[in-house]
Amino acid sequence: MVIGERKPFDEIIMMLGGHKKVLVLGCGGCVTVCLTGGRDEARVLSSQIKMARDKDGNPIEIIEETVERQCDPEYIEQAAPIVPEVDAVLSMACGVGVQYMAERYKDTPVYPALNTTFVGGSTKEGFYVEKCQTCGACKLYYTGGICPIARCSKSLLNGPCGGSTKGKCEIDPEVDCAWQLIVDRLESLNLMDRYEDLMEINDWRPNRDGGPRKMVREDFQR
């Protein structure tokens, strides 16, 4: 899923400066699962904003709403009756949702309440880690199901650098060395011969470097 982290409160207050009535719009997708942008978080953030603005002698009116997903035109249409009534929308979705809202509601500023951080999963409640960098050309066959692009700090394709120490990455003793994990896994699967194959120079076009990407199911385009 897409992981998002709430922006610093001061930054949110800065963005809303000058607005008197805003819609705080939660998203029922990934950011609900990772506990940063769903209905509950929208409620908490709204109260915090109201309290801060009251304290400042500059009260703000907030409408709270949460839709199923903000990355889908069908669901963001549900905000159509509310948006014209507000000065601005504070979207609690990932960057995709914020942009869907901005494109749909052309006359109203839409601001992000979250920093979209990575594509990952949870290891325990409230603890999320990055696993995929959406490079567009999956290499997990070669690397025992562990991604060196997302999980090696240098995205090295041909093995660990000289900074791998006791299973940890040189940048932080809390970070696992992806190549240690890959080697351990290849060894346990008896696939170490794959390690000695030179991984070719990568074609980064399927990554963001080829420009903004799209995926089209032709059979649905009729």
Partner: protein, 311 residues
């Protein structure tokens, strides 16, 4: 190994002639003062066959490796241009290879590069378009096939002797020899190892290297760094990733009175070189006297490696 040189590199000539090679290292200054490079060069001249010019080592911004290498050549010395993959994509890498060769650089060292987290610009975006193995492949392809990575012909092929680093002390140990084998398969012609303090572990690594016959396919230069003090030894043991300083060495430095520690550090370096010369498969040493360039000559002299052969 073949005695026939593929480049005009002095280091290649020394190695292929069967001499025990010596390389040194010169870190460029944090400014545009050419005299700072010249001063270091004067300390190093004739003390080794060639000298690595580091490429923004530890991700701290310095004068470029290419420019510093040119200044070194003006002093009549042979630079080894280091190049890291951290700061350049394949377009800039190939362009800098052409530029370096055009300016007279004949030897280069292919590295991944330290992560920018360690430097003075931790906010920077890193590149890592290709990795160090692929950089080796890139230079060899440019030199031997006369082709850019994109497939077009190069007019005026860069003739560079191609090196890389090897760290026998990083983890996982089991893949450290296979990793060298990959670099050999990629086309590396010489490697300089990480600083050797744990001779037992290095010996084990070399044994596996020799068992696989890799020493017959790549020249291996053992890395030697003298301790300036007990404090430095302790720092390297505790704070430098991928560095293996055994407790006995730390104890030996600690037991030495402060005023004699530098001398003891040099003694250890000379002993290390002597042990390396006895090891099968070692073709030379790489002396990295970090911000202590004036000691390279003393170490080489005491190890019986001076004068350097003329080739």
């Amino acid at each position: 190994m073949s005695a026939e040189c593929k480049t005009e590199s002095r280091l290649e000539k020394v190695l292929r002639a069967g001499h025990f090679a010596v390389t040194g290292e010169c870190g460029p200054p944090r400014g545009s003062d050419a005299e700072a490079v010249r001063k270091k060069c004067l300390l190093l001249k004739d003390k080794a066959d060639a000298f690595n010019i580091t490429d923004n080592q530890t991700s701290v911004v310095r004068m470029s490796s290419i420019a510093s290498a040119v200044i070194m050549m003006q002093e009549g010395m042979e630079p080894v241009m280091q190049m890291v993959c951290r700061d350049r994509n394949r377009i800039a890498i190939q362009s800098d290879i052409l530029g370096g060769a055009a300016l007279g650089i004949k030897t280069m060292l292919c590295l991944s590069g330290d992560h920018q987290k360690f430097g003075d610009h931790p906010q920077a975006k890193n590149v890592f378009d290709i990795d160090s193995m692929q950089l080796i492949q890139t230079v060899r392809r440019m030199r031997d096939e006369g082709k850019f990575l994109g497939g077009d012909d190069i007019k005026g092929v860069p003739k560079l002797f191609v090196g890389a680093a090897a760290n026998p002390f990083a983890d996982p140990f089991e893949i450290r020899v296979p990793r060298l084998a990959k670099k050999v398969a990629a086309g590396v012609e010489f490697v300089q190892t990480q600083c050797i303090f744990n001779m037992e572990k290095f010996g084990e690594w070399m044994k596996r290297v020799v068992d696989r016959g890799l020493h017959e396919k790549v020249f291996i230069l053992g890395g030697v760094t003298p301790f300036k003090s007990f404090g430095m030894a302790r720092y390297m043991a505790k704070n430098v990733p991928g560095m293996d300083v055994p407790d006995e060495l730390l104890a030996r430095m600690k037991a030495t009175p402060k005023e004699n520690q530098a001398e003891e550090g040099i003694k250890i370096a000379v002993e290390t070189i002597q042990q390396l010369r006895e090891l099968k498969g070692i073709s030379g040493v790489h002396i990295m006297a970090i911000e202590w360039e004036e000691k390279v000559g003393e170490i080489a002299e005491k190890a019986g490696l001076l004068p350097r052969p003329s080739v």
